[in-house]
């Protein structure tokens, strides 16, 4: 196995991420949520969508899908693990990343390009980017508003890897699309091998899509799996 792209009922970005991982030189394959074996996976991606219909809370039911025990086992063992949008919500519900995602500040589904400022390169997702670099990547979510019970812990631990900004990299309340605490768009775990973000880098993987800025993140993730030389 190469990179495992987990598919839940309601996942809808599983083909897009395989395409983007391919552009970065990595083979990947779909793994159904009822499977229980990820042995040999060099990396794991939980793609976007509406797993289990987002019933109860986003990610709440997906977090107990049979494959998730195996995802947690590999993540704990240091395997690069990435959650995009709904995948980020699932990783938070599973406790593999701190915090949770709640409804957007203005109670509107947001589907538009956003600018993200890279805050840290100490993660499997941002290792190929530069601190302060601004990436133009689309956001597509209703529950994208990041909260944590101890936000100071998250900040002080250096877990924040991406913030919503303007094109110049300036961050304030006017550049925050969804009310996310401290404009947080992406975070990593203490081990730095698990990362999640609400915007969709795979939707900014080619110029023809309006931006290929997402490849700075995808390429970093692929490099961290060891499947392609950094």
């Amino acid at each position: 196995m190469t990179i495992a792209v987990i598919v839940f009922p309601g996942t809808n970005c599983e083909h897009d991420i395989i395409h983007a991982l391919g552009l970065a030189g990595a083979e990947s394959e779909h793994v159904w949520h009822r499977d229980t074996d990820l042995s040999g996976a060099h990396g794991i991606v939980l793609p976007g969508g509406f797993a289990h219909g987002d019933y109860l809370r986003t990610g709440a039911i997906a977090r107990f899908s049979p494959i998730m025990e195996e995802v947690a086992r590999l993540a704990d063992a240091g395997v690069p693990t990435l959650g995009i949008c709904n995948g980020f919500q699932i990783l938070c519900e599973a406790g593999l990343l701190p915090g949770a995602l709640v409804a957007n500040r203005d109670l509107k589904f947001i589907c538009r390009p956003t600018h993200l400022r890279v805050e840290s390169t100490d993660s499997v997702l941002t290792r190929a980017a530069e601190i302060g670099q601004v990436l133009r990547i689309p956001l597509n979510s209703y529950e994208g508003n990041y909260v944590a019970d101890d936000i100071d812990n998250v900040e002080n631990a250096g877990d924040v890897i991406l913030r919503y900004s303007d094109a110049a990299g300036h961050v304030d309340s006017t550049t925050n699309p969804n009310g996310s605490t401290n404009s947080i768009a992406g975070i990593t775990n203490a081990g730095r091998n698990v990362a999640g973000l609400m915007p969709h880098p795979e939707r900014a993987s080619e110029k023809i899509l309006g931006s290929d800025d997402g490849m700075a993140l995808i390429e970093g993730f692929v490099a961290s799996t060891g499947l392609v030389d950094a």
Binding site: L56, R57, A60, I61, F64, C92, E93, G99, A100, V102, A103, R105, D106, L107, N145, V147, A148, D149, G179
Partner: protein, 82 residues
């Protein structure tokens, strides 16, 4: 014996509750000017077979912690339905 419980889940204080804020404004516009706070939540009714109420309640509490509520953003109250 079959027992039914109502689990009320609410947003933790301090977290934004835009539905509550907007609804409060609407109530004030309608003349209910003394409304100081409105918050939204979710009600889940669970029916369970258990030998006694304590056992049933213990199981419902465990369900709340594991799945029904997310302690990062929600609080919950369990009440036995008559």
């Amino acid at each position: 014996m079959t027992r039914t419980f109502t689990v009320s889940i609410t947003r933790k204080p301090g977290l934004s509750d835009p539905e509550g804020t907007t609804t409060r404004k609407a109530l004030i516009d309608l003349g209910f000017t003394d409304v100081s706070h409105v918050s939204f939540g979710r009600t889940i009714v669970v029916t369970i077979d258990a030998p006694d109420e304590d056992e049933a309640r213990a199981q419902i509490e465990a369900m709340c912690v594991k799945l029904l509520a997310n302690p990062v953003m929600e609080s919950y109250v369990v009440e036995a339905s008559s």
